[in-house]
């Protein structure tokens, strides 16, 4: 059975609102939810969110959304935050940042502005860089629901082009809700239906909302675990001989 993942939920401040959104996510059939606590969040706050999600039967994924102004700032942020969060998403506001983020293996998700077509830098060069590293293209569905008229038309046409480029270069696509309230959340199959508007088929859309984000989560959880040493190297047992292993 597929496990659905919503990697981008905005939780409002306040217990009741957070609980409402998390229970809605559980009701709609999600198993994992990604939430971005502030980068300076204390461990107690993250633990509190984790407990709230567990009460709803959800597995919480901690993520951080970086919006650097320069590539150097991105590198500093990645060095500081990579070991603290399970998923790192970079909002690319310039071409230089988009290129740097696509090249860096510490970046999990690439995200672009939904309202400004001039700030969408996912082209063939970007896709080629992303295909060699571990970055995936994140598509938030909430702007599709909120925008109307020409803004939505531009967004859809850009998404169609980007999905085509991502498929051509083998860059994974991750669909997220980007929702900040209940009425913007949809069940995974509804999101798969919405991708019809920008040229994804049902099967690949369902993969983008289940298998692809799960792959990112499993990879990063392994890396962040205490047993990780280096790529492909893990501590299996401590103390005693290894003959019995």
């Amino acid at each position: 059975m597929r496990k659905f993942v919503d990697l981008h939920l905005y939780l409002k401040e306040g217990v009741d609102q957070s609980k409402e959104i998390l229970s809605k996510a559980a009701e709609l059939g999600y198993h994992f939810v990604g939430v971005a606590p502030p980068p300076n969040a204390k461990q107690e706050e993250i633990q509190y969110l984790w407990n709230l999600s567990k009460a709803e039967g959800l597995d919480l994924i901690t993520r951080v959304d970086l919006t650097p102004k320069k590539p150097k700032e991105l590198l500093l942020d990645l060095r500081r935050l990579r070991r603290r969060f399970e998923v790192i998403c970079v909002h690319c506001t310039s071409k230089a940042i988009a290129r740097q983020a696509a090249k860096d293996r510490r970046v999990d998700l690439l995200s672009f502005s939904p309202t400004d077509p001039r700030r969408r830098f996912f082209d063939s060069a970007e896709a080629e860089l992303a295909s060699k590293s571990l970055a995936a293209l994140e598509i938030d569905m909430a702007p599709l629901l909120i925008l109307t008229g020409f803004k939505r038309i531009y967004l859809l046409s850009h998404l169609k082009r980007e999905v085509f480029i991502a498929k051509k270069f083998g860059v994974p696509i991750v669909l997220s809700s980007g929702a900040s309230e209940n009425y913007l959340m949809r069940n995974p199959r509804d999101y798969a239906a919405l991708t019809y508007l920008f040229g994804m088929n049902q099967e690949s859309a369902l993969c983008s909302i289940s298998d692809e984000p799960l792959r990112i989560i499993e990879r990063n959880r392994k890396k962040l675990s205490a047993n990780y040493v280096a790529p492909g190297v893990y501590i299996v047992r401590r103390k005693g001989d290894c003959y019995d292993v």
Partner: protein, 109 residues
């Protein structure tokens, strides 16, 4: 011999503060269809209202099989019904009304 027209029945759960009247929901769905796919696209759907239960907030529509993706997309895109926030969730799609009713009965209430 002409092929029979294939149809699909869609069960929708209406999420809204107050249960809206049937005509308002149907108007919203048509408006979304027209906005996304225009008059030609809307004409291909062969959309028909079957049933609505405002207490349980379940609605059943019928559309043509070929236009199922269009209808599903239009339904999912709705964020407002009559100026109040709403969401329509597609619960089940079936080829026959009988199977659809059998599957959604445990989900109601």
């Amino acid at each position: 011999m002409l092929r029979r027209l294939r149809r699909r029945y869609i069960a929708i759960k209406v999420e809204c503060e107050q249960p809206p009247p049937k005509n308002t929901i149907i108007d919203s769905i048509w408006k979304s269809l027209l906005q996304l796919f225009g008059e030609y696209g809307a004409s291909q759907t062969d959309l028909k209202f079957i049933e609505y239960n405002p207490k349980e907030r379940f609605m059943i529509l019928r559309c043509s099989h070929d236009a199922l993706n269009l209808v599903k997309t239009s339904i999912s895109m709705i964020t407002k019904i009559d100026d109040s926030k709403a969401a329509l969730h597609i619960v089940y799609v079936s080829g026959t009304l009988k199977t659809l009713l059998k599957r959604i009965t445990p989900l109601k209430g």
